[in-house]
């Protein structure tokens, strides 16, 4: 039988248990939230505690409309803080959980799926170019993503380079493991759709979450590499010791880098933000896995400003023909409608530019943020736009006023150093050291793209690479990159700035002499590998092969194209105007000159 001693012992134990339970009960009572326990038409016990108005993002994502757990996950049924916060997403929008947050059923499923395939998430272009430069793949193309690169257990030298220098900006980058330039941005969707939290700023209300993406959210990532966001704002980065040379134009970027001011893009001066031009497919992708940025971007100058030379680029339709569901949703969310018969301009793959509308005989662009209408000038059919010999030129090859340049990049791996490793989110041994002789801002050079069109280019990787300590190569690269620098000017660059500029033609800094039968070029600082070439050149006048670019088949002008361009340059001092009769049929003019049938004082220079 049970003994009385057992009974007493159990009685005491039960008392201890009840006392412990009493303590827990008191704690439960005092920590219990007093707010309502419903939000968004469902039980949402987060709001029993999170009752402060400043904890409400407002708008379409207001606490009352969607609750907290729709974005932050956790356990919305729990009253207990630890249970409620278990499994929470600290960075809503992060791609690791996006299918359960922004991309959950009933919310932004389609957009979340697209973003995961977009280049901002995959960064496959950066990966392939870097690996190609390191000699690890035969062409600057490939489908490998930054995320896959960072996950590699035994990364190659290029992958280590990417992991330490380039991987801090893609959409998978989480808070605390990001490039300095994007501290304060959210992750994944929130990188663009949540207002930035600046470093050192006092705690502030729950940031707004919306589709009206302001430029400061783009600036972080796009102030690196091609630096288009800086150029758009009229800023170019300089080295610390260069800042003084800017004088009053010197300034400091949001992340502390010194910079100088220059002329901002004409669209920026008109108040247009990045998203006013860029379509949703440019930014979030269209579900296809493009390799490079220029493949994904749909918007063109012609979409807004009309085709050049009066031709039809097939960029216009009526809203009745538009099938793009996201553009239609965007209009619906804004309470806007478009009559089916209204004309609409399209991006390269048919996505409508929904904020560009016909008005009278022309078109107006609406700033998405404020709804302000701006008359959008159509490309005139005038002498400047129908100049013979310029058929291959893209708009930006003439209208890009300047581009940031860095023609001397020295990259070396210091095995004894330490550096942040985005792959591991900690500082690890080994450091990539980049040095240069300074940045500059100058009119872009000209490149020939794979499709044969002429486009602006800037030094992409004119560099000496020493990756031997990382098991990689020691090599010199002389690669230019072609991109729209986002420095569009209303006025095009002058004829001389291409036809008489050694820099624009890819010859680098030096002196051109067009007085002889053959053009001559003298670089004050010849390149180490070839004395005929300037140290900052892409090519030279007698190059057997044109200079290479960071894309398959991107190249500098070849020897023939250079001579053709310079031949016009030789005439420019006298024949300044593009409407000059000599340019109507330049080949004929040259023939007449060669035959001596002209009064030209320049002499018989041949073709």
């Amino acid at each position: 039988m049970f003994r009385t001693r057992t009974l007493v012992a159990l009685l005491l134990l039960a008392l201890a248990g009840l006392l412990a339970a009493l303590g827990r009960e008191g704690q439960r009572e005092t920590t219990l939230g007093r707010g309502p326990d419903r939000a968004g038409g469902k039980v949402e016990r987060c709001v029993t505690c999170h009752v402060r108005p400043e904890e409400d993002p407002g708008g379409a994502h207001a606490r009352a409309a969607v609750g907290c757990s729709s974005c932050h996950l956790g356990n919305e049924l729990a009253f207990d803080k630890a249970r409620a916060h278990a499994g929470m997403e600290a960075e809503p929008g992060a791609l690791r959980t996006v299918s359960r947050t922004c991309g959950r059923a009933g919310c932004h499923v389609r957009e979340a799926q697209r973003v995961a395939t977009s280049l901002m998430a995959r960064a496959s272009g950066i990966v392939s170019v870097d690996r190609w430069v390191f000699g690890e793949i035969p062409q600057p193309r490939g489908a490998a993503t930054m995320r896959e690169t960072l996950a590699k257990a035994d990364p190659s030298p290029a992958e280590r380079h990417l992991g330490k220098l380039c991987a801090g900006c893609h959409l998978h980058a989480l808070r605390g493991n990001r490039d300095d330039a994007i501290h304060g941005n959210g992750s994944g969707c929130s990188s663009c759709h949540v207002a930035r939290r600046l470093p050192g700023a006092v705690p502030r209300p729950h940031p707004a979450v919306d589709a009206r993406v302001t430029d400061d959210r783009c600036l972080g990532c796009h102030s690196r590499s091609g630096r288009i966001a800086l150029t758009y704002e009229g800023l170019y980065e300089v080295e610390k010791d260069q800042a003084g040379a800017c004088g009053d134009a010197a300034t400091t970027l949001h992340d502390g880098r010194p910079a100088c001011r220059a002329e901002a893009d004409v669209h920026r001066l008109a108040g247009l933000s990045c998203v006013d031009c860029h379509l949703h497919t440019d930014l979030m992708g269209d579900g296809r896995e493009w390799e490079h940025e220029e493949d994904q971007v749909e918007i063109t100058c012609e979409a807004c400003h009309g085709p050049v030379r009066g031709g039809s680029a097939g960029t216009e339709t009526t809203w009745g023909e538009v099938t793009d569901p996201i553009s239609r949703d965007l209009l619906r969310q804004r309470g806007e409608t478009r009559p089916p018969e209204e004309h609409v301009r399209l991006g390269r793959r048919g996505t409508p530019v929904w904020n560009l509308r016909p008005s009278g005989d022309g078109w107006v662009t609406f700033r998405k943020g404020q709804g302000v209408a701006l008359a959008t000038k159509q490309t005139p059919i005038d002498a400047n736009h129908v100049l013979p010999g310029h058929e291959r030129l893209t708009c930006s090859s003439c209208h890009a006023a300047w581009a940031p340049t860095c023609s001397t990049c020295h990259t070396a791996f210091d095995a004894s150093g330490k550096q942040w490793d985005f792959a591991k989110a900690v500082e690890t041994p080994g450091r990539w050291v980049e040095t240069s002789e300074g940045y500059a801002a100058r009119p872009p050079a000209l490149a020939v793209r794979a499709d044969g069109r002429i486009a602006p280019a800037m030094p992409g990787m004119v560099m000496d690479l020493d990756a031997t300590s990382a098991g990689g190569p020691r090599a010199s690269r002389r690669l230019f990159a072609s991109l729209d620098p986002h420095s569009t000017g209303k006025k095009a660059r002058s004829c001389e700035s291409c036809h008489l500029s050694s820099w624009a033609l890819g010859l680098g800094t030096g002196t051109l002499d067009l007085s002889g039968a053959e053009p001559a070029f003298t670089p004050p600082a010849p390149a180490a590998e070839d004395a005929r070439m300037a140290s900052d050149a892409w090519t030279h006048l007698d190059a057997e092969h044109p200079g290479a670019g960071t894309r398959v088949d991107l190249r500098s002008l070849d020897a023939k194209e250079l001579r053709r361009t310079l031949a016009v340059g030789a005439c420019l001092p006298c024949h300044r105007d593009g409407r000059d009769p000599v340019y109507r049929d330049f080949e004929q003019a040259k023939s007449r000159l060669a035959a001596g049938g002209t009064r030209c004082a320049f002499g018989n220079r041949g073709g």
């Binding site: 057992t6 159990l10 006392l19 339970a21 499994g87």
Partner: protein, 273 residues
């Protein structure tokens, strides 16, 4: 035997505390109702603790009493029919407890429900009907589970225990001791709920007493979910009918089965870390 009587007392505590809990639980919103019970109902967490811990105590007591009977060779005191029905108390208790686990409605319970549905459905001929009878059809609420937890299996457990103990109810002293032990344990050992949503990449664990079976099912076909327990029950049941080397052999098989079960449990816990 003292252990048997105490176990009976624990069953009574489990039943009474279960009755006290019933008004707070919702078949349509199980997790929500239990979160409310735990977080917003005065002494709710403690009452739930008393129920859970007394039930676990009942299962542990039943197992320990079975080992005690086999060790002391007192199984022969029971008639064959009573013995077999007493052996059946083990799966009935487990099914009763499993119902309680499923009634949590959290991520672990939802996963457990899916597993149990598959295991039941793998029984030849009547499997699917049995699964629907015990667990309801997929997508339905947890009312059928609750019915069998509080009704069918609890009633069966009570009847089998009463027959085995030759008493309609436990004695007062056992009941008081069981109650005091449960009260103490509920205060000192809080019983938590599982995660509301399955954490990405994490292995969800079933109830602690079925971890060995869960571990085995990672490697064996789903029919092992009912064949393995049936094998153990057959072996234990047959012990009553044999002596000498055969008894030793059957007990060795049961011991080996238990050791294997324990090994699968440990392996699963290590995998879940």
């Amino acid at each position: 035997m003292i252990l048997g009587r105490l176990t009976y007392g624990l069953l009574l505590v489990a039943v009474l505390s279960g009755l006290a809990l019933a008004p707070f639980w919702s078949a349509a919103r199980p997790l929500e109702s239990l979160e409310t019970l735990n977080g917003a109902t005065p002494w709710g967490f403690w009452l739930r603790g008393v129920h859970a811990l007394s039930s676990w105590g009942f299962l542990l007591g039943t197992l320990a009493h079975l080992v005690e009977v086999l060790w002391k060779k007192t199984d022969g005191r029971l008639s064959p029919g009573v013995w077999w029905r007493s052996v059946a108390l083990l799966p009935v208790s487990i099914l009763a407890l499993l119902g309680g686990f499923l009634m949590r409605g959290d991520a672990e319970a939802q996963a457990g429900l899916a597993v149990w549905r598959e295991v039941s459905a793998s029984i030849p001929f009547a499997g699917r009907a049995l699964a629907a009878l015990l667990l309801g059809v997929p997508g339905s609420d947890l009312a059928p589970v609750a019915l069998h937890h509080a009704g069918t299996f609890t009633l069966l457990a009570w009847l089998l225990t009463a027959e085995h103990g030759r008493a309609l109810a436990p004695d007062l002293r056992s009941t008081v001791l069981a109650a005091l032990g449960s009260f103490a344990a509920a205060g000192l050992l809080p019983v938590s709920l599982g995660p509301a949503v399955a954490p990405a990449g994490a292995l969800l664990l079933g109830p602690w007493y079925l971890l060995g079976l869960q571990g085995a099912l990672l490697h064996l076909p789903v029919v092992a979910g009912w064949l393995l327990p049936l094998l153990l029950l057959a072996v234990v049941g047959l012990v009553r009918h044999v002596d000498g080397r055969w008894r030793t052999t059957l007990l060795a098989v049961a011991a080996a089965w238990s050791a294997g079960y324990l090994a699968f449990t440990v392996r699963l816990l290590l995998a879940a870390r």
